[in-house]
Symmetry: C2
Subunit: 131 residues, 2 copies
DNA sequence: AAATGGATTTATACTTATTCTAAAATCAAA
DNA sequence: TTTGATTTTAGAATAAGTATAAATCCATTT
Protein backbone atom coordinates (compact mmCIF):
# COMPACT_ATOMS: atom_id res chain seq x y z
CA UNK A 1 0.00 0.00 0.00
CA UNK A 2 1.17 3.44 -0.88
CA UNK A 3 2.15 5.56 2.08
CA UNK A 4 2.40 9.31 2.12
CA UNK A 5 5.86 10.68 2.76
CA UNK A 6 5.49 14.06 4.43
CA UNK A 7 8.93 15.61 4.47
CA UNK A 8 9.63 18.81 6.38
CA UNK A 9 9.09 20.84 3.24
CA UNK A 10 5.86 19.13 2.24
CA UNK A 11 4.52 19.42 5.76
CA UNK A 12 5.26 23.15 5.85
CA UNK A 13 3.57 23.69 2.48
CA UNK A 14 0.60 21.62 3.57
CA UNK A 15 0.22 23.59 6.80
CA UNK A 16 0.08 26.84 4.91
CA UNK A 17 -2.48 25.68 2.38
CA UNK A 18 -4.53 23.84 4.98
CA UNK A 19 -4.74 26.78 7.38
CA UNK A 20 -5.09 29.50 4.74
CA UNK A 21 -8.21 31.61 4.91
CA UNK A 22 -7.93 32.33 1.21
CA UNK A 23 -6.84 30.29 -1.80
CA UNK A 24 -3.13 30.98 -2.18
CA UNK A 25 -1.12 30.71 -5.38
CA UNK A 26 2.28 29.03 -5.45
CA UNK A 27 3.85 32.47 -5.09
CA UNK A 28 1.64 33.22 -2.07
CA UNK A 29 2.71 29.96 -0.48
CA UNK A 30 6.33 30.83 -1.15
CA UNK A 31 5.96 34.23 0.53
CA UNK A 32 4.27 32.76 3.57
CA UNK A 33 6.99 30.16 3.90
CA UNK A 34 9.58 32.92 3.93
CA UNK A 35 7.57 34.82 6.56
CA UNK A 36 7.78 31.75 8.75
CA UNK A 37 11.52 31.54 8.35
CA UNK A 38 11.64 28.79 5.73
CA UNK A 39 13.75 29.20 2.66
CA UNK A 40 12.87 26.43 0.24
CA UNK A 41 13.66 26.38 -3.45
CA UNK A 42 10.86 27.37 -5.80
CA UNK A 43 11.00 23.96 -7.41
CA UNK A 44 10.44 22.36 -4.03
CA UNK A 45 7.31 24.37 -3.43
CA UNK A 46 5.93 23.36 -6.83
CA UNK A 47 6.93 19.75 -6.26
CA UNK A 48 5.29 19.75 -2.86
CA UNK A 49 2.10 21.28 -4.17
CA UNK A 50 1.92 18.66 -6.86
CA UNK A 51 2.74 15.84 -4.48
CA UNK A 52 0.05 16.98 -2.07
CA UNK A 53 -2.43 17.37 -4.91
CA UNK A 54 -1.64 13.95 -6.35
CA UNK A 55 -2.10 12.38 -2.95
CA UNK A 56 -5.42 14.02 -2.34
CA UNK A 57 -4.35 16.25 0.53
CA UNK A 58 -5.06 19.52 -1.23
CA UNK A 59 -6.81 20.62 -4.41
CA UNK A 60 -5.46 22.64 -7.29
CA UNK A 61 -7.87 25.31 -8.54
CA UNK A 62 -7.71 26.64 -12.05
CA UNK A 63 -10.02 29.59 -12.00
CA UNK A 64 -9.08 31.07 -15.35
CA UNK A 65 -6.36 33.31 -13.97
CA UNK A 66 -2.75 32.86 -14.95
CA UNK A 67 -1.67 31.14 -11.73
CA UNK A 68 -3.18 28.07 -10.09
CA UNK A 69 -4.54 28.46 -6.59
CA UNK A 70 -4.56 25.80 -3.89
CA UNK A 71 -7.24 24.77 -1.47
CA UNK A 72 -6.90 22.64 1.64
CA UNK A 73 -10.62 22.06 1.87
CA UNK A 74 -11.25 18.66 0.33
CA UNK A 75 -14.99 18.21 0.51
CA UNK A 76 -16.84 18.64 -2.74
CA UNK A 77 -17.40 22.30 -3.49
CA UNK A 78 -17.09 24.95 -6.18
CA UNK A 79 -15.87 28.55 -6.22
CA UNK A 80 -17.10 32.02 -7.00
CA UNK A 81 -14.83 34.84 -8.11
CA UNK A 82 -15.65 38.51 -7.60
CA UNK A 83 -15.28 40.29 -10.92
CA UNK A 84 -14.60 43.53 -9.13
CA UNK A 85 -12.00 42.74 -6.44
CA UNK A 86 -10.87 39.23 -7.40
CA UNK A 87 -11.66 37.56 -4.10
CA UNK A 88 -12.55 33.88 -4.21
CA UNK A 89 -15.22 32.30 -2.03
CA UNK A 90 -16.49 28.79 -1.66
CA UNK A 91 -19.81 27.54 -2.93
CA UNK A 92 -21.23 24.52 -1.16
CA UNK A 93 -24.56 24.32 -2.96
CA UNK A 94 -24.08 21.46 -5.36
CA UNK A 95 -25.33 21.17 -8.91
CA UNK A 96 -28.51 19.13 -9.35
CA UNK A 97 -27.72 15.55 -10.35
CA UNK A 98 -30.30 15.64 -13.10
CA UNK A 99 -28.12 18.14 -14.91
CA UNK A 100 -25.23 15.65 -15.13
CA UNK A 101 -27.60 13.05 -16.49
CA UNK A 102 -28.89 15.47 -19.10
CA UNK A 103 -25.36 16.37 -20.18
CA UNK A 104 -24.39 12.69 -20.40
CA UNK A 105 -27.37 12.05 -22.62
CA UNK A 106 -26.67 15.05 -24.83
CA UNK A 107 -22.96 14.37 -25.36
CA UNK A 108 -22.62 10.60 -25.05
CA UNK A 109 -19.82 11.13 -22.54
CA UNK A 110 -19.43 9.43 -19.21
CA UNK A 111 -19.61 12.62 -17.19
CA UNK A 112 -17.25 12.40 -14.24
CA UNK A 113 -17.60 15.83 -12.79
CA UNK A 114 -18.18 19.48 -13.49
CA UNK A 115 -15.68 22.14 -12.65
CA UNK A 116 -17.69 25.27 -12.06
CA UNK A 117 -16.45 28.80 -11.55
CA UNK A 118 -19.13 31.34 -10.81
CA UNK A 119 -18.47 34.98 -11.57
CA UNK A 120 -20.26 37.81 -9.88
CA UNK A 121 -19.90 40.71 -7.49
CA UNK A 122 -19.33 40.16 -3.78
CA UNK A 123 -21.32 41.84 -1.03
CA UNK A 124 -18.53 44.28 -0.18
CA UNK A 125 -18.09 45.44 -3.74
CA UNK A 126 -21.83 45.77 -4.16
CA UNK A 127 -21.95 48.09 -1.14
CA UNK A 128 -18.93 50.07 -2.26
CA UNK A 129 -20.37 50.80 -5.68
CA UNK A 130 -23.73 51.67 -4.17
CA UNK A 131 -21.81 54.33 -2.12
CA UNK B 1 -21.31 54.27 -32.41
CA UNK B 2 -18.38 51.92 -32.35
CA UNK B 3 -17.72 50.18 -35.60
CA UNK B 4 -15.74 47.02 -35.99
CA UNK B 5 -12.59 47.37 -38.03
CA UNK B 6 -11.88 44.03 -39.66
CA UNK B 7 -8.42 44.29 -41.15
CA UNK B 8 -7.02 41.60 -43.41
CA UNK B 9 -5.29 39.98 -40.45
CA UNK B 10 -8.33 40.08 -38.16
CA UNK B 11 -10.56 38.75 -40.91
CA UNK B 12 -8.21 35.84 -41.58
CA UNK B 13 -8.05 34.99 -37.87
CA UNK B 14 -11.80 35.25 -37.56
CA UNK B 15 -12.35 32.95 -40.54
CA UNK B 16 -10.20 30.30 -38.99
CA UNK B 17 -11.85 30.41 -35.59
CA UNK B 18 -15.32 30.71 -37.05
CA UNK B 19 -14.97 27.78 -39.40
CA UNK B 20 -12.95 25.55 -37.09
CA UNK B 21 -14.46 22.20 -36.21
CA UNK B 22 -12.49 22.17 -32.99
CA UNK B 23 -11.49 24.82 -30.47
CA UNK B 24 -8.08 26.03 -31.63
CA UNK B 25 -5.43 27.59 -29.42
CA UNK B 26 -3.52 30.69 -30.52
CA UNK B 27 -0.74 28.41 -31.74
CA UNK B 28 -3.25 26.33 -33.73
CA UNK B 29 -4.58 29.49 -35.34
CA UNK B 30 -1.04 30.53 -36.18
CA UNK B 31 -0.31 27.20 -37.85
CA UNK B 32 -3.50 27.28 -39.88
CA UNK B 33 -2.71 30.81 -41.02
CA UNK B 34 0.66 29.63 -42.26
CA UNK B 35 -1.00 26.70 -44.06
CA UNK B 36 -3.14 29.22 -45.91
CA UNK B 37 -0.13 31.21 -46.97
CA UNK B 38 -0.37 33.97 -44.39
CA UNK B 39 2.65 34.99 -42.40
CA UNK B 40 1.51 37.29 -39.61
CA UNK B 41 3.50 38.18 -36.51
CA UNK B 42 2.63 36.25 -33.37
CA UNK B 43 1.69 39.47 -31.65
CA UNK B 44 -0.79 40.22 -34.39
CA UNK B 45 -2.54 36.90 -33.90
CA UNK B 46 -2.84 37.53 -30.17
CA UNK B 47 -4.01 41.09 -30.78
CA UNK B 48 -6.57 39.90 -33.28
CA UNK B 49 -7.88 37.20 -30.99
CA UNK B 50 -8.29 39.75 -28.22
CA UNK B 51 -9.87 42.29 -30.51
CA UNK B 52 -12.36 39.73 -31.77
CA UNK B 53 -13.08 38.56 -28.23
CA UNK B 54 -13.56 42.11 -26.94
CA UNK B 55 -15.95 42.85 -29.76
CA UNK B 56 -18.03 39.76 -29.16
CA UNK B 57 -17.17 37.98 -32.39
CA UNK B 58 -15.50 34.98 -30.77
CA UNK B 59 -15.14 33.58 -27.25
CA UNK B 60 -12.02 32.79 -25.29
CA UNK B 61 -12.18 29.46 -23.45
CA UNK B 62 -10.08 28.75 -20.41
CA UNK B 63 -10.50 25.07 -19.86
CA UNK B 64 -7.79 24.59 -17.28
CA UNK B 65 -5.07 23.83 -19.77
CA UNK B 66 -2.07 26.05 -20.23
CA UNK B 67 -3.29 27.71 -23.42
CA UNK B 68 -6.59 29.46 -24.08
CA UNK B 69 -8.77 28.08 -26.81
CA UNK B 70 -11.07 30.06 -29.04
CA UNK B 71 -14.61 29.41 -30.15
CA UNK B 72 -16.54 31.07 -32.94
CA UNK B 73 -19.86 29.79 -31.65
CA UNK B 74 -21.40 32.66 -29.71
CA UNK B 75 -24.64 31.25 -28.37
CA UNK B 76 -24.65 30.39 -24.71
CA UNK B 77 -23.06 27.01 -24.12
CA UNK B 78 -20.51 25.15 -22.05
CA UNK B 79 -17.82 22.58 -22.79
CA UNK B 80 -16.86 19.05 -21.92
CA UNK B 81 -13.28 17.77 -22.07
CA UNK B 82 -12.40 14.11 -22.57
CA UNK B 83 -9.97 13.10 -19.84
CA UNK B 84 -8.59 10.38 -22.06
CA UNK B 85 -7.95 12.01 -25.45
CA UNK B 86 -8.36 15.72 -24.69
CA UNK B 87 -11.05 16.44 -27.24
CA UNK B 88 -13.45 19.25 -26.44
CA UNK B 89 -17.15 19.13 -27.23
CA UNK B 90 -19.96 21.57 -26.74
CA UNK B 91 -22.69 21.24 -24.15
CA UNK B 92 -25.95 23.03 -24.84
CA UNK B 93 -27.91 21.81 -21.83
CA UNK B 94 -27.84 24.80 -19.52
CA UNK B 95 -27.53 24.82 -15.75
CA UNK B 96 -30.87 25.07 -13.94
CA UNK B 97 -31.69 28.66 -13.00
CA UNK B 98 -32.68 27.64 -9.50
CA UNK B 99 -29.05 26.74 -8.88
CA UNK B 100 -27.91 30.30 -9.58
CA UNK B 101 -30.51 31.59 -7.16
CA UNK B 102 -29.35 29.14 -4.51
CA UNK B 103 -25.74 30.15 -4.96
CA UNK B 104 -26.63 33.84 -4.78
CA UNK B 105 -28.42 33.20 -1.52
CA UNK B 106 -25.58 31.15 -0.09
CA UNK B 107 -22.77 33.56 -0.97
CA UNK B 108 -24.42 36.97 -0.98
CA UNK B 109 -22.92 37.61 -4.43
CA UNK B 110 -24.74 38.95 -7.43
CA UNK B 111 -24.14 35.88 -9.57
CA UNK B 112 -23.54 36.91 -13.17
CA UNK B 113 -22.74 33.61 -14.75
CA UNK B 114 -21.17 30.22 -14.29
CA UNK B 115 -18.26 28.99 -16.32
CA UNK B 116 -18.59 25.24 -16.44
CA UNK B 117 -16.13 22.67 -17.71
CA UNK B 118 -17.31 19.10 -17.58
CA UNK B 119 -14.77 16.30 -17.49
CA UNK B 120 -15.49 12.80 -18.61
CA UNK B 121 -14.75 10.17 -21.23
CA UNK B 122 -16.02 10.52 -24.78
CA UNK B 123 -17.84 7.80 -26.69
CA UNK B 124 -14.81 6.88 -28.79
CA UNK B 125 -12.53 6.47 -25.81
CA UNK B 126 -15.16 4.45 -23.99
CA UNK B 127 -15.33 2.04 -26.92
CA UNK B 128 -11.58 1.86 -27.27
CA UNK B 129 -11.03 0.90 -23.64
CA UNK B 130 -13.84 -1.59 -23.78
CA UNK B 131 -11.79 -3.33 -26.56
C1' DA C 1 -0.85 64.21 -55.43
C1' DA C 2 1.43 65.29 -50.90
C1' DA C 3 0.97 65.80 -46.13
C1' DT C 4 -1.12 64.71 -41.79
C1' DG C 5 -2.59 61.86 -38.03
C1' DG C 6 -4.48 57.77 -36.11
C1' DA C 7 -4.70 52.86 -36.07
C1' DT C 8 -2.40 48.59 -37.03
C1' DT C 9 1.33 45.44 -37.80
C1' DT C 10 5.82 43.82 -37.15
C1' DA C 11 9.95 42.17 -34.81
C1' DT C 12 11.76 41.59 -30.78
C1' DA C 13 12.35 41.90 -25.85
C1' DC C 14 10.24 40.90 -21.68
C1' DT C 15 7.24 38.75 -18.06
C1' DT C 16 5.02 35.22 -15.56
C1' DA C 17 4.11 30.69 -14.14
C1' DT C 18 5.87 26.51 -14.25
C1' DT C 19 8.81 22.47 -15.43
C1' DC C 20 13.22 20.31 -16.18
C1' DT C 21 17.92 18.98 -15.05
C1' DA C 22 21.96 17.64 -12.85
C1' DA C 23 24.30 17.71 -8.72
C1' DA C 24 24.14 17.52 -3.76
C1' DA C 25 21.92 16.13 0.40
C1' DT C 26 19.03 13.09 3.05
C1' DC C 27 17.09 8.85 4.42
C1' DA C 28 16.21 3.86 4.85
C1' DA C 29 17.68 -0.57 4.69
C1' DA C 30 20.92 -4.41 4.23
C1' DT D 1 28.41 2.05 6.28
C1' DT D 2 27.92 1.20 1.66
C1' DT D 3 24.12 1.04 -1.42
C1' DG D 4 20.16 2.73 -3.50
C1' DA D 5 16.23 5.41 -3.66
C1' DT D 6 14.09 9.68 -2.81
C1' DT D 7 14.15 14.50 -2.18
C1' DT D 8 15.94 19.09 -2.33
C1' DT D 9 18.45 22.68 -4.41
C1' DA D 10 19.91 26.18 -7.80
C1' DG D 11 19.52 27.49 -11.93
C1' DA D 12 18.46 26.82 -16.81
C1' DA D 13 14.75 26.08 -19.91
C1' DT D 14 10.03 26.39 -21.63
C1' DA D 15 5.40 27.99 -22.88
C1' DA D 16 2.00 31.38 -23.28
C1' DG D 17 1.20 35.74 -23.55
C1' DT D 18 2.20 40.97 -23.14
C1' DA D 19 4.77 45.29 -23.99
C1' DT D 20 7.34 48.33 -26.86
C1' DA D 21 9.04 51.04 -30.41
C1' DA D 22 9.63 51.50 -35.11
C1' DA D 23 7.61 50.81 -39.53
C1' DT D 24 3.54 50.51 -42.33
C1' DC D 25 -1.09 51.31 -43.72
C1' DC D 26 -5.06 54.06 -44.58
C1' DA D 27 -8.45 57.61 -44.68
C1' DT D 28 -8.89 62.43 -44.85
C1' DT D 29 -7.43 67.12 -45.54
C1' DT D 30 -4.69 70.47 -48.21
Amino acid sequence: MKTINLTTQRKAVYDIVYHAEDHPTAADVMNRLVERGHNFAYGTVYNSLRYLTDNGLIRELKLGEAASRYDGKMDDHQHIVCESCGRVDEVMTGAPLQWYADVAEETGYDVHHAHVVFKGVCTECKNKSKK
